[in-house]
Point group: C2
Chain length 489, copies 2
């Protein structure tokens, strides 16, 4: 067999095993018996060890040295395999397993500290995580910028310098927009009790409306909604709260964005290194454009209003126009995951700046809480009342996810760019959305973004799709226009 | 690290991976999206290939050569690892993968042939399966008896000669008992419609009654009930039929027998080669004694009668005594999985004799149907009406499971032995069962059998538990006594 074919046969089996490992994660969050956790930890560790050994296998290096790419697809496959091979070989196995052990412990410590609002209890183990991640970053960067190496793990090609410039342009206009909105009168909030099984029924129907294929997926409940898997088995989860049906509906639409992306990758890439989304940022662009630019648009919420009245009867909102405002209410809040479109990115930018300083040793772990609280008050205009509403609110740092937060805002920026181009290409889109028909939009996204999987590097993929260099202006313009209209600014 | 410790660390990771592979099977039968099957096939194959490579790893051979067992447990661990190592190395990887490919195809062909009642459509692929299994058996037996090597795969130490003697003693007394029963008047059958969610609720309650730990397990529905997993994550499935609540109840109790066995293995053996049931036969002894000797006893069915009246109201059976007869009704039937305690083993003996002849080339695949029909009429007194009621009824041969059927009857024989000793040890057992309290029985089984996992070879384990050499007499005595009373023979 030629080196390329041997390499691909090996990679295919590795991808299949990665799917299995991913499904263990799904199982853990949805159906696993509660006392199974210790055994599950060993099962996950065993799968990770198998995957690491396969990715760093010296034979992969030999095949890579010999293999010839006969075309664009083959070249992209080799690029992805080389990326995984280099990464697996740069991080010593001992360090990787120390990170796995410490972050597993840190996650438990974080959960306890958050529940007790006790920052001091979390700091020692966070200290350890940061130290190990700095070490890993140094190994990955091989003399280059450590934080860039971390970013590259989630967003190939991204640099802190580029992102800083983009985020620096976002921040003042978002702070200003937020302040202007909060000075005016808010649309009415949703009130009442909404049957949870009716919410799930509606959520499943909406998932299908957005093109999510139930024959290759399923929708379950989980504490924190997520999507999982690629190809023919892509599952999503959502949650219900009888006082807040929007949580269920928009969590579902968001996860459907991730899930549909994975389902829509070109079938020829199934179980190959190209058979997944291009990056975390591009992934988030899909989940966000489904959720916000489409799902929270005036046209689509008009249709949704009718669906909700069918499901729940009269729920006290007078008409579509008022409902549009209710869906897009902006209000003060501490929590990133509960934030609206306007404030969400301010939460992310705060974390990006703090974690970058942490990794660069410009900020030490013991000063993190003070830095958080100061920055929060500067951007949001009020003080954090307790750590679980501040520095302890997200699991990410305990799991060692440094460089990850940035992809949330990058995804929103990409969604803004894609939305601008999509609107230009589909002048009749609102008429379809008003009928609950998202197909023109999802077809456009499938054609321009989703079907390509990992074929093209993320930034290039978005640039090809949009026809211009990705930048923050379309997102800002969209937000200012939409919320000026709702809030009559 | 000492060779033994290195070997055990390796084995522990292998066991964790085997649990993952097992859970993929559970997922496939319960929650997998229907269009995911092709991808799942590749995922399973990748896991099998990883497991085979680990079990046959030459380092395992080196460690085995060097390792010293410091006690009984260590010696048993080495015995189990050596067994798996020898097996993995005896069967050439090419043959193993040919068997995997052909049996996967054969399973589909069997399902279609059964649906169409078309034996001829199934024979060519069965031919291939038998040829490959003969080849595998030859590799495993290394010059010894081929069928014994197959048996040994499921029941370490069992031989066709021993089983034939045992089964030969069973058959005439079972044929005679069956004929006598069917000449007398049967107890009334169950009639009416039984709400399926009430069945599941009752089934879950009964599972707990039998000591199944829901914190380390779960009960779902599947087309064919099964149990899956070891240690801290042992799941069972059952099924419901609104006309036949006994199907749900006794499938659940049967699978609880398997599941509780796995849950009750000594926690020190978790994720080691000893951390599972000793053999298929011992496993079946637990599921059968839970289901039949306990679950279909006069005392327990008295309690169950009350539970069913609570769940379903008056369902037309006048009293406990009549209900006991209804639960234990014997009637003509073609299908093994629907057979009562008296006839079940006759179905198994038929398959044992036919498959043994097939493997020994005393019977060829093209003559299998005729041989089946002839034997069936001899033992059951009436003719098979169509292949789906005869030679096409079981999936086993299409999957390559030769040597497996025997463990069903061996399990029943072991259950008979264990029941005799348990009754002698627990003279007050019926008083507890009449209150729905199975704890004295399950505690006895846990102490004598379940906690030992794979520590002791199966036959020795049962002999230690019973205090006598396992044989068919206790099962026959029990059946004759029980059914003579019910049918007033």
């Amino acid at each position: 067999m030629a080196a390329y074919d041997e390499l691909m046969a090996h990679a295919r089996e590795t991808e299949a095993l990665a799917q299995v490992a991913g499904r263990l994660g799904w199982d853990q969050e949805t159906v696993m018996p509660r006392a199974a956790a210790p055994q599950r930890g060993e099962e996950m560790a065993a799968m990770e060890s198998v995957l690491h050994a396969r990715r760093s296998d010296p034979r992969v290096g030999d095949w890579l040295a010999e293999a010839n790419a006969s075309g664009e697809v083959e070249a992209a496959q080799l690029r992805q395999i080389r990326r995984a091979f280099d990464r697996a070989n740069k991080v010593p196995a001992k360090l990787a397993s120390a990170i796995a052990r410490v972050t597993s412990e840190a996650q438990g410590a974080w959960a306890e500290a958050r529940a007790a609002d006790d920052v001091a209890a979390f700091l020692p183990v966070l200290q350890e995580v940061v130290a190990l991640k700095r070490e890993e970053g140094a190994a990955l960067s091989a003399g280059g910028d450590v934080y860039d190496a971390m970013l590259d793990d989630y967003e190939p090609g991204a640099t802190a310098a580029d992102l800083s410039q983009m985020f620096g342009a976002l921040r003042p206009r978002l702070v200003e927009l937020r302040a202007a909105i909060l000075e005016t009168e808010a649309p009415p909030a949703l009130e009442g009790v909404f049957d949870e099984s009716a919410q799930m029924k509606l959520a499943r129907q909406i998932a299908k409306t957005f093109g999510y294929d139930m024959a290759r997926g399923r929708v379950d409940k989980a504490v924190h909604p997520f999507s999982s898997g690629s190809g023919l088995d892509v599952r999503i989860t959502t949650r219900t709260d009888e006082l807040d049906p929007f949580n269920c509906i928009y969590s579902t639409i968001h996860e459907v964005g991730h899930g549909a992306y994975e389902q829509n990758v070109d079938r020829r890439y199934l179980l190959t290194p190209l058979g997944q989304g291009a990056s975390m940022g591009v992934h988030e662009s899909q989940s966000r454009i489904y959720e916000n630019q489409i799902g929270r648009s005036r046209a689509f919420t008009g249709w949704l209003y009718g669906q909700m009245r069918e499901a729940f009867g009269d729920f006290g909102i007078a008409d579509e126009e008022t409902f549009f405002g209710t869906v897009n209410r902006v209000q003060n809040g501490y929590i990133r995951t509960e934030a609206d479109e306007v404030q969400y990115n301010l939460h992310v930018l705060l974390r990006f700046d703090l974690e970058r300083a942490l990794i660069a040793r410009d900020l030490e772990v013991e000063d993190l809480e003070a830095a958080w609280n100061e920055r929060f008050e500067a951007d949001f205009g009020f003080a954090v009342d307790k750590p679980s509403h501040g520095v302890l609110q997200d699991v990410h740092w305990s799991v060692g996810l440094f460089g990850y937060f940035a992809t949330y805002t990058l995804g929103n920026v990409y969604a803004g760019c894609l939305h601008q181009s999509m609107r230009a290409a589909l002048p009749e889109l609102d008429a379809a959305l008003a009928q609950g028909n998202t197909t023109p939009a999802t077809d456009w996204l499938q054609e321009k973004v989703q079907r390509h999987g990992g074929l093209v590097p993320p930034r290039e993929l978005i640039e090809n799709a949009c026809g211009f260099t990705p930048n923050e202006a379309p997102l800002l313009d969209y937000l200012e226009e939409k919320f000026s209209a709702i809030y009559k600014l």
